[in-house]
Symmetry: C2
Subunit: 337 residues, 2 copies
Amino acid sequence: MSEVKGKQSLRFAKTPFILNSASVVGKKEGEGPLGEYFDVIGNDDKFGCESWEEAESTLQKEAATLALGKSGLTPEEIRYIFAGDLLGQTIATSFGLLDFEIPLFGVYGACSTAGESMSLGAMCVAAGFAENVLTITSSHFASAEKQFRFPLEYGNQRPMSATWTVTGSGAYVLSTQRTHVKISGITTGKIVDYGIHDSLNMGAAMAPAAADTIAAHFADFGSKPEEYDRIITGDLGTVGQEILFDLLKKKGYDIENNHSDCGIEIFDAKEQDTDAGGSGCGCSASVLSAYYLPKIISGEWKKVLFVPTGALLSTVSYNEGKNVPGIAHGVMLEYVP
Amino acid sequence: MSEVKGKQSLRFAKTPFILNSASVVGKKEGEGPLGEYFDVIGNDDKFGCESWEEAESTLQKEAATLALGKSGLTPEEIRYIFAGDLLGQTIATSFGLLDFEIPLFGVYGACSTAGESMSLGAMCVAAGFAENVLTITSSHFASAEKQFRFPLEYGNQRPMSATWTVTGSGAYVLSTQRTHVKISGITTGKIVDYGIHDSLNMGAAMAPAAADTIAAHFADFGSKPEEYDRIITGDLGTVGQEILFDLLKKKGYDIENNHSDCGIEIFDAKEQDTDAGGSGCGCSASVLSAYYLPKIISGEWKKVLFVPTGALLSTVSYNEGKNVPGIAHGVMLEYVP
């Protein structure tokens, strides 16, 4: 029987495994420090499509197809898809996954969706409701700029605290089949509002939520930062990382020595002019699959807490003067010998 | 052990129960044929707020508070919320549920979200991951018009096939505590695209998805339409209902005698000038809670299939010439003596 741990966590008895995963990213991501690790790098950020939204749908389609192929599974062998993206009414997901004809649970947690979809998928497999599920998320720089900021043609200037939305998608097959990586537990986030108003400083908006979920995780599992080979946040960037360290220190936890942030890793901020780092649903999803997961599979890392973070806003909420609250969903990954 | 049934369904062994629920609606809904059944009817569709979006958040907050109160539970006793709405980046949910400080899984399935959130909540309770969860969805006529069509000030004309977005919210506490209504199973929908292009004919866009999920439900459970006291769709309206009947007849099922549609019931289309009927996440959620659930609780109805339907589009997808695919999620409700 799975254990309900503390206030926000579950430890799975019958742990789901990550059977396989895939990452598909854009040109700029391919030119960054992690370029060699991604499965597919598009030469053309439109991925042969007519619109940015279609391109983002194609990212999802390709990542899903690749994850299935690597897993040796057909779409018929996938019981459910848990998927989402950043666009209004999650249209990248709807049009990207239509052809698979697999029962779909659409999810939305802004950039935390990679953690949310993986949490729900893991719950489903751990409960015996499915042998295999697919979890997938995406983001696209150009569709996100159009949705949240300004169309590319406008050529707006960006403050140093701004993050650069990653063009990418990561897909995961979670399964009862034993592999070297199990999802041993989850810590589900609450909405946390620290009164941040600046939609171009997502890191600051999301860091309190990350701190809240990470601290809840330690409390629920009675664990300490040093037990984890790495605590990986989604896309706090350099600005958010500092805030995260400060907030966690106030709660009695020091994670400076074993923290990584997918948004910081994916770009060379100086060379690639990406300001505070990468962001978006596709950032943490593609970086976990391409760069961090192999370290767990090989046994180099034994225990990892993956905590994608989301900023909860829309242009409407922002223009109506609302704060930008955050949410973060934690997934505990462990090496299986 | 819960049973995986057929291709898209689950039958729960440890069935979750609907501990209690609540409905909050706007003035027009209160003036309609179901007016006497809703828990709260607002006199002012802004619900004392400064914007339509805030008003929609307030709908969720009030419905959630009321459902908790009726259940005799505090927010601390709710393990998870599964919630969503129709707005871009589901902001009605983010700002409506912030104050509860409960771990949140945000979901998006357009108007099918009432069924999706209830399905996920039921899976969570059935798996033993929670004793109590809250599922909640909302829609608001004015925030939806602004999001999807034209601001109210524009005074646009509406074709007869158009539906009227319901201002309302329905909240449900799903629990291990035994009551007179159990969620005995679910049938999870796939995206179904019949090539409908008209965003003002949602009924036609969603009917094929409803037919697909209902037929899958019968096939998975080996059941027949006449075994159900009622098969209740979300918001197909009069135009969608006819298409649903035709499509299901082609699949060998006749549900004409025991079909109801929340969108048809909630308004008096002629008197209230709502064209094809009501729609929105809040339509099926509020109508099930206020009007249909009491019939199961009393034992008048023994078995009901609740199938909210969603149209997957955004103004961006629509303006880029995309079709409007649909999705429908089925929830089987049974009377417990």
